[in-house]
């Protein structure tokens, strides 16, 4: 059984909202994605299968449209608009991300199509009521103006701040679109009433910046970007360390508890290199204490030496181990440390494979089964599932029109 079985969603294909549609479709909603005759713009985004640009071979289209059905309507024609109206009349929820004003001009906005039960999720750059050049927003400009970019980059501030990869600005807006859709569905389950929901992508980025926003809100301070760690008002000690194989790890919070100093010591001994680390004696002192009072760093010589030895032990171990061995060794010693994996390395890692991250999806017309990224969560009774690969252009025209005709009849 699916959590959203029987929920009919009409999605007007757009790069800004496609991921929201996927998240709902993979949980069982019947998402019908509407494209123009030339196909969604997303079909022109690479990468492409074998690097050959083709609207049916866009991996971006494939990923963001799993489990959906696809129909074509030319909204610039009366016939297309009539078809769209009929489709919306059959829907529980509409998901769209058109620039404000476009749907109203076509007579296809919420005000034109509203019914008591209908839920309408609008995802726009600045919301429906505020000015701003919606047509000029990209993931890059969204994350720059919305706050995330200011916090990301390097200690060297002559280098530009960094936009993280993977279209996270769009992803964040889509997470809020999904939260909105589900909340509106729950409310409708009680009241019987749907409603219009206005999602601002810019606002979504602004409240996904952790301390950057709330340190300013609470105490009026501005954080500064730092390599691989939290942006803070003052520069902090580095946590990203290069290991013997040239790859990096994030060493997390420096060791500070007696059990962590004990764990470090045990790890050094197990690796057979404790004798080469003269400061091991301070780890032993740290391990024997009941408590290591970090507020005394710089004042109490022994505490300073213990804390310093903890950090240096990590650097020493990193200089001798591969990033992966460092990660596992540290975790087994009780330290929250992470290997900095490329996405494909995580995808092939035994832990994620065991959790089912690799999901085979049939592409019958290619005669291939393709491994897709799997579930973000594991539901006991209503599992996440890719019901089918993304639709080919107009693939479900006949099927959906037949359903509409039957329900009209």
């Amino acid at each position: 059984m699916s959590a959203l079985a029987g929920v009919r969603i009409v999605e007007l294909s757009h790069e800004r909202s496609a991921f929201a549609g996927k998240l709902l479709a993979d949980m069982g909603a019947d998402v019908v994605v509407v494209e123009p005759p030339e196909g969604s713009a997303l079909r022109r985004w690479g990468p492409f299968v074998d690097d050959v640009p083709d609207p049916e071979q866009s991996l971006a289209w494939w990923h963001y449209n799993t489990s959906k059905r696809g129909v074509v309507f030319d909204l610039d024609t009366e016939a297309g608009r009539a078809g769209f109206r009929r489709l919306v009349a059959s829907a529980d929820l509409v998901l769209e991300a058109e620039d404000p004003g476009r749907l109203a001009k076509l007579g296809l906005d919420y005000a034109d199509l509203a019914r008591r039960e209908l839920i309408w999720i609008s995802v726009t750059p600045f919301g429906r009521k505020l000015p701003g050049r919606a047509d000029l927003m990209t993931d890059l400009t969204l994350l720059a103006a919305g706050g995330p970019v200011w916090s990301c980059g390097y200690d060297d501030h002559s280098l530009p701040p960094v936009r993280g990869g993977g279209f996270q600005g769009y992803n964040t807006a889509c997470h809020y679109a999904v939260l909105s859709a589900l909340t509106a569905l729950l409310a409708r389950g009680v009241s019987g009433e749907g409603q219009f929901v206005d999602v601002s992508m810019h606002a979504a980025a602004n409240v996904t910046t952790e301390m950057s926003s709330y340190n300013y809100l609470v105490q009026g301070t501005t954080v500064q970007r730092q390599t691989g760690r939290h942006a803070m008002e003052a520069m902090t000690l580095p946590v990203q360390v290069r290991c013997a194989d040239g790859r990096h790890v994030n060493t997390g919070v420096p060791p500070r508890f007696p059990r962590e100093f004990a764990g470090l010591l045990g790890w050094l001994r197990q690796a057979g290199i404790a004798d080469e680390f003269p400061e091991a004696v301070f780890l032993e002192l740290g391990a024997k204490r009941d408590f290591v009072d970090l507020s005394k760093i710089g004042q109490d010589d022994e505490i300073t030496a213990i804390f310093t030895a903890g950090r240096e032990a990590l650097n020493f171990l990193a200089s001798r181990l591969s990033a992966y061995d460092f990660f596992v060794g540290a975790q087994l010693a009780g330290l929250p440390v992470g290997v900095i994996y490329a996405p494909e390395e995580a995808f092939e890692d035994a832990h994620f494979v065991a959790r089912g991250i690799q999901v085979p999806v049939e592409h019958p017309e290619l005669g291939r089964t393709i491994r897709y990224p799997g579930a973000p969560y594991r539901f006991e009774k209503t599992p996440w599932r890719i019901a089918r690969r993304a639709p080919r252009l107009g693939e479900h025209d006949e099927e959906v029109f037949r359903e509409l005709a039957a329900s009209d009849g």
Binding site: R133, P148, W150, V162, V218, Q219, Q240, F347, H351
Partner: protein, 418 residues
Amino acid sequence: MKALGHVPVRALGHVRICDFTGQLAGAGATKWLAAFGAEVIRIEDPVKQGTWDILRMMPPFVDERRGTDFGGGFNNHNVEKLGITLNLRTERGRELLAELVKKSDVVAENFAAGVLEKLGFGYERLKQLKPDVIYVSNCGFGHVGPYKSFKTWGPVVQAVCGLTFSSGLRDREPAGWGYSYMDHTGAYYMAIAILLALLHRQRTGEGQWVDLSCTDAGLTLHGPTLLDWTVNGRPLLRPGSPDSNRSEHPARAPHGIYPAAGEDEWVALACRSDAEWRALAGVVGAAWAREARFAALAGRLGAQDELDAKLAEWTRARPKAETVAALQAAGVPAAPVAKPPERVDGDPATAGFGLWPTARHSKMGEVRVDGLPVHFAKTDWEIARGAPCLGEHTEEVLTRLLGLSREEVAKLRAEGVV
């Protein structure tokens, strides 16, 4: 005319959450629910003064006061929730929790895997107490798999799931995310999981367990990159990659973040088409910008370093606001790299959206917090009450929900149960 009868004042006014979450990765999830009217009851440990959630006593601070009720981040993530204390080391504390579970729709937690089980409230026990309970657990590596005992926090999650790696400039170490993006996002997935489970229960009466791992969720945020790997065999880890201020897919150039006049000032700009490039070249107005070799995308992609250097010379000479205004007027995507004061107090698109509501905290007073980036036409969110002080609602909740008298609560307090 208003419809009669059943219009809910609050979208989630019918939902009660027994909330063990903390930090941002958990508390951020129940913040959404509370803002839409769910009754979220935080349960904290009176012995450790609630400090399992370290944000209770961490900066930022509104003034010089310190302690378990003064953490600014905690206030930000826990607005509109109730807070009670229960000492689960005591028999009576566990009994009271059992009674509360029976009256709750959802039990939510983001302890390390196995902690709630050790407290005697694993999923099987929760189901005995309430057969249709929804239990949502959220931890770094999930409750199943070789790394289930490994520990994480935001930056470690981001490191392992690929997000740190995919953020950086060419031929440099990863820049990563300068904050716990996956605490925010893990919280979004946790809230989504709770809402999905509630919808399923609303229609079928059936509860369930959802096991959420922040590293799984983070890994799924690289969809097309992972398909490039599984379909084309192309890894993101290869010479010259990643270079995340640029846009490999879709292929765009120029596309990046450039210096502006002033100290640590930057501007982002992107050309999605040859027409946008022509518009940008018109604004720049220099001979190099009109060179034929840059007219088509392929030429610009092949000369990105040179193009970026020339553009940087141009952007460096003017304030970011001036560059943004000129480019937007010409129809070119451009935006400032906004600093916190600029986007909180200087941006009508946030303040005008009502994005920074003021919450009244019992001890801190009025504090602005992150609002929600959505508005519902009929049952919108509300944020007015600050985060609960430790045990602030113990008496209120135990008397109202569990039927205890005030005297009984006072006795429990004296006995160290609450």
